[in-house]
Amino acid sequence: MNNTKSGLLHNIRQAVLVTLVLLLLCGFLFPVVLSGLSAVIFPHQATGSLIEVDGKTVGAEYVGQEFTEPYFMKGRPSAYHYNTYYEDAEGNQFYNDGSEFAGLSSGSNNYAASNPALVERVEADIEAFLAANPNVTREEIPADLMTASGSGLDPHISPASAEIQIPAIAEASGLSEDILRQIVADNTTDKMFGVFGEVTVNVLGVNLDIAREMGLIGEVSE
């Protein structure tokens, strides 16, 4: 009896001590060591691949942004507006459509394929897009441009979605379509080894180049 009791105590002691050692090792040392290594080897990526323009941080390479100006390329719809917001005089924060900023978030509307709300949202977006791009027909719009990404932060659109926006952007920005096509090509990433993934166009990259070409901003540094 005494034996099993001390055995049990011994087991509890082992459980507690092993837990504490592993807590220190996995929960503290591992992330701290990894941070140290990353800061030395990949300092740019470890701090979020931030992009600077004229010494000011304007965004991150892998995080999409919401754009409203007619001379900028538009990304995909986002349930959280890419966490992009403006402040009024009192410091209240609003999304570009005027609704209240929900704080840092990620995700989608989670509409099921059969949910009527999905069709409603897509139809409204199609109408708005057609109004802004009068030379485009409904059938030409690629699916990715009218559907929300899973993260609400997707930095990319498909090359087809970039191409159909070019005429309207050319008109609004005063840049030629050839220059815009070149800008899109510069910000296009091919499939890995030509096989894995998809061909993507980075919208923020395109818009930074458009802004620089228009003389709105200076040099971009990453």
Binding site: V16, E66, T68, N110, A112, N115, T147, D154
Partner: protein, 589 residues
Amino acid sequence: MLQLLLTIIIFLIIVIPVGRYMYHISIGAHTFADPVFDRVDGVIYRIGGVDPKKGMNWKQYALALVGTNAVMVFIGYLILRIQSIGLFNPNGIEGMEPTLSFNTIISFMTNTNLQHYSGESGLSYLSQMLVIIFMMFVSASSGYAACVAFIRGLAGKTKDNVGNFFADLVRITTRIMIPFSVVGGLLLVWQGVPQNFDANVVVETIEGTFQTIAMGPIAALEIIKHLGTNGGGFLGANSTTPLENPTILSNLIELYSMMLMPGACVITFGKMVRDRKQAAMEAAGQNSVTAPALNEGRSLTARIYGREGRSIFLAMGLIFIIGLSVCFWAESQGNPALANAGLNQSMGSMEGKEVRFGIAQSAMFTTTTTSFTTGTVNNMHDTLTPLGGMIPLLHMMLNVVFGGKGVGLMNMIMYAILAVFICGLMIGRTPEYLGKKIEGREMKLTALCIIIHPMLILAFSALAVATPGGMEGITNPGYHGLSQVLYEYASSAANNGSGFEGLADNTYFWNITAGLAMFFGRYLSIVIQLAIAGSLMKKRFVSESTGTLHTDTLSFAIILVFVVYIFAALTFLPALALGPIAEHLTLWS
């Protein structure tokens, strides 16, 4: 198609060395890294007062596992409740509410990683590290430890010693989890996953608006999230976010991280069982086993996977490929409701998916995360097409397609026992598996183990749709609402953790019921499975005869697949018919 094929082929190649390494760790054999790790482990054993050579029987082992997990739960719960303290909390996150803390801590201890909170606003960096990352390591190690003990039981070199739990826990953590995580974590940072302790960054955009960008020790969490088949994201939208999963390469790293260990487990199983057979042969002084279908020495696959491991791996692989094909096909078809609205669907159903992954890698990730019970997502499962969403649901209901952290293998062995039992009845022989007679006690335990999983899913789903507390969570109208409920409990009971994220699940009802489903889904199965191993260990090996059903053949693998599907159809078809199948039929009508 080509990229899916290549993705799978690469997996089949890299799983081999990892399986070999894991096998060496499991049997305590020599590996190249021993000089370092022996010293590290030695220090941990000394601090903890662990005698790694002291064996345990299955009851002691199960008790040590459950007890240690209880200690971890207690510490983790405490940290969640007091996380508002100023330590590693640059974003000023508040403490967590009790039922949500209960759900979260059970969720991470059971390796489920179902999240009823959003990482951005729910957890401080301290909690992300000391609770989430810590639990991701130890819950995975606990699962593998249970699996290794289970295999030792089946491979039965002794009558009652299944190994030392503490030694297994430490060895698996230090020799597999941590080194793999450091290398994988660095690769992810290279691809653009942030790893720092800074507060979230606010930038001013070129349009003059502001944007908040998440920061934190994301890469550290990200790598162990996949390696330990955990699945809970740093951010609300998990691996769909470009912060957790920025490129196609990071996507593949994460994909392989979650596939490697469960695949390696099957190889470990095959090799350990083969060792036992060889030992038995040597003891009997025989030169060859009676009636082997293929000579062990000549067949390459048998040498890599072990003969018994090969048929299990094949059965799992077949179910996986079938699921992947259906999911990929369904998503490629697009959404007819959007086609009616005039939106071209030639790209497939892109709602909830990222452009950089497209349909193919999204379907691959979805099928993998639910087969290997990880629960990480690179697209939103709630927005999958009805049939595309049925595959992840089904694979969690099966819970045998590789499975996470060893339990998938243990579950599959349950079905293997069921399969030999059914075949035994048909040919009128006493069923045997791995040279042991399967008798009343094992069959009762097996039946109990197999029945718990559907019972948890269906009973809790019934409860949810019968009570107002449950109904309040449903956010999509029609048949999809039932799918949301089924998915939540299937994910909980299978310790998967992915979700139909639309479900409004941070309420008392959902926190508590899902917490219970996760708890029973994890510990009841593990204890019963260890009991079966303990019971089989005590039996004598029966010598093979011409009437023995060979379990290392292609035909057995196919029988196994059918047993799994038939069982699933009998249990889940009515529920699936009311959920995803009904939704599909109405959508495409």
